[in-house]
Amino acid sequence: MSKDYKETATGTGPIPAMSIELVNCALRTSSGRYRLEPTTLTFASGLVTAVVGPNGAGKSSLLAIAAATLSPTEGEVLFGGYSVSDMNARQMAQSRAVLAQDLSVAFGFNAVDIVSWGRTPWRGTELQKQDSTAIKVALQSLGIIDLANRPMSELSGGERKRVHLARILAQETQCVLMDEPDSDLDLAGLATLDLAIQGMNALGKTMVISSHDLQRVSRLADRIVVVAEQKVVAHGEARAVITTEILSEAYQTQVKVQWTDQGVAHISIVG
């Protein structure tokens, strides 16, 4: 079970291992219907886990519960073994960063303002000294130094996503969760996103990413979680889960999966 939470802020250096565990987590509507059936699973430390499944299957609920932005109606979520119910918003934000689907920002803030908000959880700690470095590194990593002083309202959708990715990088957390980060991105945007994911993974971060793009996910993710009809129907290594049988069943559509030697799954619809 969970340990008692104390300060886990550790300063810089190698990122300590931190998994996200769901213990019997379920989400019910007020009428008692399940939006997510009781689920126990671990998003393993240092690995990229992709959450896939049909629309409305419960991907976003699962991700929001794992991110602790949504409280499950039953069960418990643990960050690195500590129950999130013992943490405040700031302590959670020192553990995990979240890229939501809604990236709108009110009022005319500049890109660099938004990136700097990633430093919020470290205000008043030792790490605050590194604010300006962290912000600069994040802007550089996403190639948006030139956009820093432009208002968000003037940026394209892809540029805005990069600004938010930089914000999450600047937050310097062990875990990163992204809800369909690849939606509405063009090819260049996807290339940037993949580089960002691989870069964060190389830093040893624990990553959870929901997506509809099974082929990209097969290349990027170490683990796959398949959600269908409000429950987790498969969880494991990509090759073991992205199969003709599992996907055909989950999506209620006859598909054919072929893995290439480069470790990419090609998925085609049969019929």
Binding site: A64, A67, T69, N88, A89, R90, M92, A93, Q94, R96, A97, V98, A100, D102, S104, V105, A106, F107, G108, F109, N110, D113, I114, W117, G118, T120, P121, R123, S153, R167, Q171
Partner: protein, 321 residues
């Protein structure tokens, strides 16, 4: 182009000079222009009340807009002012004196009730809808104003101020005890605003993303709304409802120095004070000796500008969320 920080400093200096100029003009103009008794007993508390009310309404606007993530929020438009007016009138009907702390307390309760209702009706799926906030404000204002009118007609108390006083505001009844009842509220409310300003910036991301960045969203919103009610209610209890200051002043300041909340609070407080002193001076002098209602002056300028802001906001967002 000068940096935003340099522009903020310049703007603070310019607005401070404008404020002092307007205060001096207001103190020295009118009939019996330089009679020290009139200046000290009548005009000085009046001008100081205008300074405090203007600063309070502008900062309340910043707090409402920031915490509701709604560029169209204003204490009068979301119903806080009318709720506070109702509270003050109920207090008077119960025999409390005007311009007293007890009357202010009733105004605060009325304002608080209004904001709780508006936020409650406009919450859906953890978000607060822009349009519903304003619709809720319309309903609350209509209801509270009606009750004010009924209470005043029925009670027949000589001490009750006329319905028009509560609807469009006036500084004509300002005195030193009124100044003393508003001042602490404005100081405390502005202090809270400055303290939570960095969190209000992050709140621009929306509730979920702000929470994921370490902001206790519910707590910050409670402080912001509470401070907005304090800043509005204390003023309304003394001078009635003055609309559009909380909407227009933060808007204009944002255009000049950007949206960052700490400088927005400081500059808006000074600019709000200036705007209301100027509006009151116009109200007092333009058709002297007849005095115009100050809320009518702010509305005649404010309402058209509100429409411009509505149109701009809608075109930028591509519709309402």
């Amino acid at each position: 182009m000068p940096t935003l920080r340099a522009r903020s400093v310049w703007l603070i200096a310019i607005v401070l000079v404008a404020l002092m100029g307007s205060v001096v003009i207001s103190l020295l103009s009118g009939a019996a222009a330089s009679d020290p008794v009139i200046i000290w007993n009548i005009r000085a508390p009046r001008v100081l009340t205008a300074v405090l009310v203007g600063a309070g309404l502008a900062v309340a606007g910043v707090l409402l807009q920031g915490s509701l993530r709604n560029p169209l929020a204003d204490p009068a438009l979301v119903g806080v002012s009318a709720g506070a007016a109702l509270g003050a009138v109920v207090g008077a009907a119960l025999g409390l004196g005007y311009n007293s702390y007890a009357a202010s307390l009733f105004a605060l309760l009325g304002g608080l009730l209004a904001v709780v209702v508006v936020v409650w009706v406009s919450r859906t799926h953890g978000r607060i809808e822009v349009v519903t906030v304003l619709l809720g404000g319309i309903a609350i204002t209509a209801f509270a104003s009606a009750v004010v009118a009924i209470l005043i007609s029925m009670s027949g108390l000589a001490g009750l101020r006329p319905v028009s006083f509560w609807a469009t505001g006036s500084f004509a009844l300002s005195n030193w005890s009124g100044v003393l009842s508003i001042a602490p509220a404005v100081v405390i409310g502005t202090g809270i605003a400055l303290f939570i300003a960095p969190a209000l910036n992050v709140l621009s991301l929306g509730d979920d993303a702000a929470f994921a960045s370490g902001i206790e969203v519910g707590k910050i919103r409670m402080w912001a709304l509470g401070a907005a009610v304090l800043l509005t209610g204390a003023g309304v209890a003394v001078v009635g409802v003055i609309a559009f200051i909380g909407l227009l002043v933060p808007h204009a300041v944002r255009l000049l120095i950007g949206p960052s909340h700490r400088s927005l609070v400081i500059v808006s407080a000074i600019a709000g004070a200036f705007t209301v002193v100027a509006a009151d001076t116009v109200a007092r002098l333009v058709v002297s000796p007849v005095e115009l209602p100050v809320g009518a002056i702010t509305a005649i300028v404010g309402a058209p500008l509100f429409l411009v802001i509505v149109a701009r906001t809608r075109s930028r967002q591509g519709g309402w969320a």
